[in-house]
């Protein structure tokens, strides 16, 4: 539809067409503004997605590097899906960043093919991020004190192991617990009484009289030996660590899982709006 062709006809016709053309032109100028605003919003939305993608990658990389050294505990419970969620998060972060660039180019060039590719890839990434987000949120619930308690009792200083994998895990769990209890001045999961209330692999090799709880639960002096072993064994205040390690374990884990889950959720909500806008834009473009 071109105005120029119609301009050559008779006066009456010409005037009516001119009026029509003016109408149309006004309408077009209006929708042109709308489309520019939509374009601007989509570019802005994609910039935010790209930046959030980088941030998500950074967060997940920090999580999988395991700065608190707690991964062996989760690994031994065969419940390390939070780490899986973080690995997916790394991938999704990169993908979102790359796709946001593609999206910006597509929106500015108003290229239908480019935008169709963008939308399809974005939907796939969306599904991945959903998986990561829900996994993290679900497995945060599994990090109960009982989970770590059971594992600690069954694995700490276990002497007879079934196979190589088992002995490797036992070794790592023991090391992790030794380190945890020493560095954080805590004992057991809920407290030293964990070692008294339950039998454990530790109890089968260490007598109750000499080791009511591991000596790492005792308050240590500078040389790394208990300040007063008898006081520690009797549970005299000030010679044993009376608080449990659960907070030390669950604190960082929960924060990470919380971050992966809710930050991912926020990104998904934002991406949802941007994607809907892009689809609308895409369906209105003409070749």
């Amino acid at each position: 539809m071109s105005e120029g062709e119609k301009g050559g006809s008779g006066f009456l016709l010409e005037s009516t067409t001119r009026r029509e053309g003016l109408h149309e032109e006004l309408k077009m100028a209006k929708s042109d503004d709308g489309i520019r605003i939509l374009q601007g919003l989509l570019v802005f939305g994609n910039v935010v997605i790209g930046m959030c993608g980088i941030a998500l990658t950074a967060e997940c990389i920090f999580f999988v590097t395991d700065p608190h050294g707690l991964y062996p505990l989760l690994e031994a419970t065969e419940n390390d899906d939070i780490y899986a969620a973080a690995w997916i998060g790394i991938f999704v972060g990169f993908a979102l960043f790359a796709l946001s660039i593609l999206g910006i180019i597509g929106v500015i060039k108003s290229n239908r093919t480019l935008l169709l590719v963008y939308i399809i890839l974005m939907l796939i990434t969306y599904a991945f991020e959903m998986a990561s987000c829900i996994t993290a949120a679900t497995h945060r619930d599994f990090l109960t004190p009982n989970l770590f308690l059971k594992q600690m009792l069954e694995r700490y200083q276990k002497s007879e192991t079934d196979n190589n994998n088992d002995s490797w895990m036992t070794k790592r769990v023991t090391e992790t617990w030794d380190k945890l209890m020493l560095q954080n001045q805590c004992c057991g999961v809920r407290g030293p009484s964990d070692w008294q209330e339950y039998t454990s692999a530790f109890r089968t090799t260490h007598s109750d009289a000499d080791f009511p709880w591991p000596h790492n639960c005792c308050v240590q002096d500078a040389r790394g030996s208990p300040v007063n072993l008898d006081g520690c064994k009797l549970g005299v205040q000030g010679y044993y660590n009376s608080n449990g390690c659960y907070d030390v374990i669950s604190g960082p884990m929960n924060t990470h899982a919380w971050g992966v889950a809710w930050f991912g959720f926020a990104i998904l909500c934002w991406t949802f709006c941007v994607l809907l806008g892009t689809m609308f834009y895409w369906s209105r473009i003409e070749y």
Partner: protein, 321 residues
């Protein structure tokens, strides 16, 4: 007090006295059984006791009896081995050990300044009290039975330890335990840990008194005895302690690791994301179908930008006309 009660009773009517006497016979049977428990500390000969019973039965035998036994209980508390102060030793009793307070000032009356004494500690399972709870032989000498001989206190008391008579005049101050340098001294003076020695049973060269670990989830009783160390004769003994039970353990297999109810956050995230992804797919289908279904000649609502640019070039023509 007894005399007052008796004289008062003489003034009551003969009929009332008959009723009292009938009650008295019933009461006496019960009393006799209780008296066998009480008799040790109420120091009376049998004549005194019967007079006392007769007098008391006239007014209120039960009240007197209760007072007697309360008084006796109070007296007994200081004459029984006690568990160490729980605010000091928080981990007590454990599975195989029991920390006891040493017998401070319990044997003061029997100590003569020129003689040397030691304190023996006897341990038995509560079930053994039915078999034999004697800790001396016929000559008043303390038994020397060991842990193995009594199968861990199952068949009778065994000697678990001997130590010096604790100092009654200057007992250790429990507050001092906070001082790192004095803590071990205070603990050593204040308490004794039964079941502390895990190795003496298996050491053939060990000749002293062996104090091996107790068994878990078992009730034990303890007794201190003052022995004249030169003559080797029992001078005084405490009562058997109240039953003290060692801890029992649970199996870690029984621990339930299921988290139970889900957190609100997880439900929110899962449900909202499901809805969002459904909406996205619906939107995608809608936009694709709108593109496919659109008739080719029908005008689009919005135009390509290049078109609008072309149109804006027409503007000067329109104005000139």
């Amino acid at each position: 007090m007894q005399i007052v009660a008796a004289t008062k009773d003489r003034n009551t009517s003969p009929r009332k006295q008959k009723i009292y006497q009938r009650d008295f016979r019933k009461a006496q049977q019960y009393q006799e059984s209780v008296w066998s428990l009480c008799s040790r500390s109420c120091e009376m000969d049998s004549g005194e006791r019967s007079r006392f019973l007769e007098g008391s039965s006239m007014c209120s035998p039960w009240v007197v009896l209760v007072f007697c036994c309360l008084g006796q209980l109070y007296a007994d508390q200081s004459l029984k081995p006690r568990i160490a102060a729980p605010q000091l030793a928080t981990n007590n009793p454990t599975l195989t050990t029991v920390a006891l307070e040493k017998p401070f000032c319990m044997f003061d009356s029997s100590l003569h300044p020129n003689k040397s004494y030691v304190v023996y500690l006897y341990v038995m399972k509560e079930s053994a009290s039915a078999i034999s709870s004697l800790v001396t032989d016929n000559n008043g000498k303390p038994l020397n039975s060991t842990f193995q001989q009594t199968s861990g206190g199952h068949t009778g008391p065994y000697k678990a330890a001997l130590f010096n008579v604790p100092n009654c005049v200057s007992p250790p101050k429990l507050a001092d335990v906070g001082d790192v340098n004095r803590a071990s001294d205070v603990l050593k003076q204040y308490l004794f840990r039964v079941g502390d020695d895990g190795t003496c049973l298996y050491d053939p060269n060990f000749l002293a008194v062996c104090n091996p670990p107790l068994s878990p989830d078992t009730t034990y009783r303890f007794k201190y005895m003052l022995v004249d160390s030169t003559e080797g004769i029992m001078k005084e003994q405490t009562l058997w302690s109240d039953p003290i039970k060692t801890r029992r353990v649970k199996l870690p297999l029984k621990i339930d690791t299921w988290p139970g109810r889900r957190s609100g956050g997880m439900i929110v995230i899962t449900s909202i994301l499901s809805v969002l992804v459904f909406l996205l797919l619906a939107g995608f289908l809608a936009s694709v179908s709108s593109v496919v279904m659109r008739p080719e000649d029908s005008p689009a609502v919005t135009k390509h930008i290049s078109q609008t640019i072309q149109q804006s070039e027409l503007r000067p023509q329109l104005i000139s006309e």
